[in-house]
């Protein structure tokens, strides 16, 4: 039986798809058979971030409506043999998703995969609701910024009350906080919320802190999940986060301001 993890946030543009791609890739790298599902019907981008947009034939809605089987729809990643992508439809909208259809697809995937990552769209409407409804664990992606924290708090409330686990009175969804676009020197200056501030406001366990990094934009445009860029700080942070998700105790790097030596400043420049 697979573990179903939803990557959600409430707020848009905080890094859900980036995180889904990297966490999914990271799990596959560690040997787990993983599928990432794009729930953003009508505004799909998981396939772009994963670099498989040219191989999309059928999509999630096709499978729900019975036009295609899962085997025909799943896109195998070219870099890793354990990794698959279920793309969203670009021509339909969220109304094409039904609870029964989603349940059927996720159950079928859960039989053969170790991890099912659900990439949630922004907001709290149907698409986001269906993405988190069947989840066992949730990664709440938050920027250290007031509106993102407020929306994540709302999403946490919904995870605790409107998921299937909540409705059936089962053990609640395990919640993790992933802080993205973190800039330690801005925190010191007092311009940005720090890790402790966000933890205090949201009261959930910290999965990881991903620093603001130019490598993320580069990776998106190249269609390579940033975790595969081993030299980038963001990639390494995602790698640490995957280890923590699997239960390992990893110290948080990237929380303090990097002190650059004189030579580094002359020749290296800021990464």
């Amino acid at each position: 039986m697979a573990k179903i993890i939803v990557v959600t946030s409430g707020k848009g543009g905080v890094g859900k798809t980036t995180t889904s791609a990297s966490i999914g890739t990271g799990l596959a790298l560690r040997g787990y058979k993983t599928v990432i599902i794009d729930f953003d019907v009508g505004l799909r981008n998981l396939d772009l971030i994963m670099g498989c947009e040219r191989r999309v034939v059928y999509d999630f809605v096709n499978v729900i409506q019975g036009d295609a089987t899962l085997a025909q729809t799943l896109i195998k990643d070219k870099r890793l043999e354990n990794l698959y992508v279920l793309a969203a439809s670009q021509t339909r909208d969220k109304d094409a998703l039904t609870t029964e259809g989603v349940e059927r697809v996720i159950s079928e995937l859960a039989e053969t995969f170790d991890f099912v990552i659900c990439d949630s769209p922004a907001g709290i409407e149907k698409g986001a609701h269906l993405a988190m409804y069947f989840a066992d664990e949730a990664i709440v992606v938050t920027n250290p910024e007031v509106s993102s924290v407020r929306d994540s708090d709302r999403m946490l409330g919904l995870l605790a009350s409107k998921s299937r686990r909540a409705e059936l009175g089962l053990e609640p969804i395990k919640e993790h906080l992933l802080l993205t676009r973190y800039s330690p020197d801005r925190v010191i200056k007092g311009e940005m919320l720090g890790v402790e501030d966000v933890e205090e406001i949201l009261s959930i366990r910290l999965l990881g802190v991903v620093p603001e990094s130019k490598s993320v934009l580069k990776a998106s445009n190249q269609g390579v999940p940033v975790i595969l860029d081993e030299e980038s700080d963001a990639g390494q942070a995602y790698s640490d986060a995957v280890d923590r998700l699997l239960g390992k105790d990893v110290e948080h790097r990237f929380l303090d301001v990097k002190r650059q030596g004189l030579l580094q400043r002359i020749f290296g420049g800021r990464e």
Partner: protein
């Protein structure tokens, strides 16, 4: 209506009564076996009113008659009955007072008990967008996020930071109070009298443990 035997005394000669009762028992022995009795003394002529009540009762008991109560009107008889813990019934002729059982039971007057509404205790964080309503008191043991609403007919206690809204005394109870460990609320209200964060922030207690109550029409914010 209870069917009960009444023995109306016409004279106070106990020895004569003994003989009379013995004769009666002989005629109907089953009748006189632990039979409950009301001893009526109110028909006694005035010059024969004096008698030893205790002896009279013993006599009746000897013949299988158990005195339940006394029917009397003279004070001496009533006092004697009181000394023996014997209930006294009013003399015959008084219109029967219908006594319902419940009245007897409720003899000690109890003041009306206030309706007890249970206290609701919440130990998980109350997130933005969630609304909690309870009829009694509300106790929250975890942080209340901005955008969350707590409503209670009674008091509200938040043993953690209160960053959302708290409305106590929701049905008009002006004696409701709000307590919190860290005052950072968006809005506080007691029985409809409210203050928003804009005003609350000016209080010296902002950000600290606070106790809010209503005095007149004004919210009183005190350090806890």
């Amino acid at each position: 209506m209870l069917a009960i035997t009444v023995l109306e005394l016409e004279h106070n000669d106990l020895e004569r009564l003994d003989l009379q009762l013995a004769a009666k028992v002989e005629r109907a022995p089953q009748f006189f076996s632990n039979t409950p009795l009301v001893l009526a003394l109110d028909k006694l002529p005035a010059d024969e009113a004096e008698l030893d009540l205790a002896s009279l009762m013993m006599l009746c008991y000897k013949h299988g008659l158990c005195t339940l109560a006394l029917r009397a009107k003279l004070k001496t008889h009533i006092d004697a009955a009181a000394r023996l813990n014997l209930p006294v019934l009013p003399p015959s002729g008084t219109p029967a007072r219908k006594i319902t059982l419940t009245e007897e039971v409720a003899a000690p007057e109890r003041p009306a008990e206030p309706i007890q509404r249970p206290t609701r205790i919440i130990s998980h964080p109350v997130r933005g967008g969630q609304q909690v309503y309870t009829q009694g008191d509300l106790i929250v043991l975890a942080p209340v996020s901005p955008g969350a609403e707590l409503l209670a007919d009674g008091n509200i206690h938040v043993y953690a930071p209160l960053r959302g809204r708290a409305l106590a005394g929701a049905k008009g109870n002006i004696n409701a109070h709000i307590f919190c460990r860290q005052l950072a609320a968006e809005m506080l209200s007691i029985a409809g009298r409210y203050k928003v964060a804009e005003d609350l922030r000016r209080s010296p207690v902002w950000g600290e443990a606070a106790h809010i109550s209503l005095s007149g029409d004004m919210l009183n914010i005190n350090r806890l």
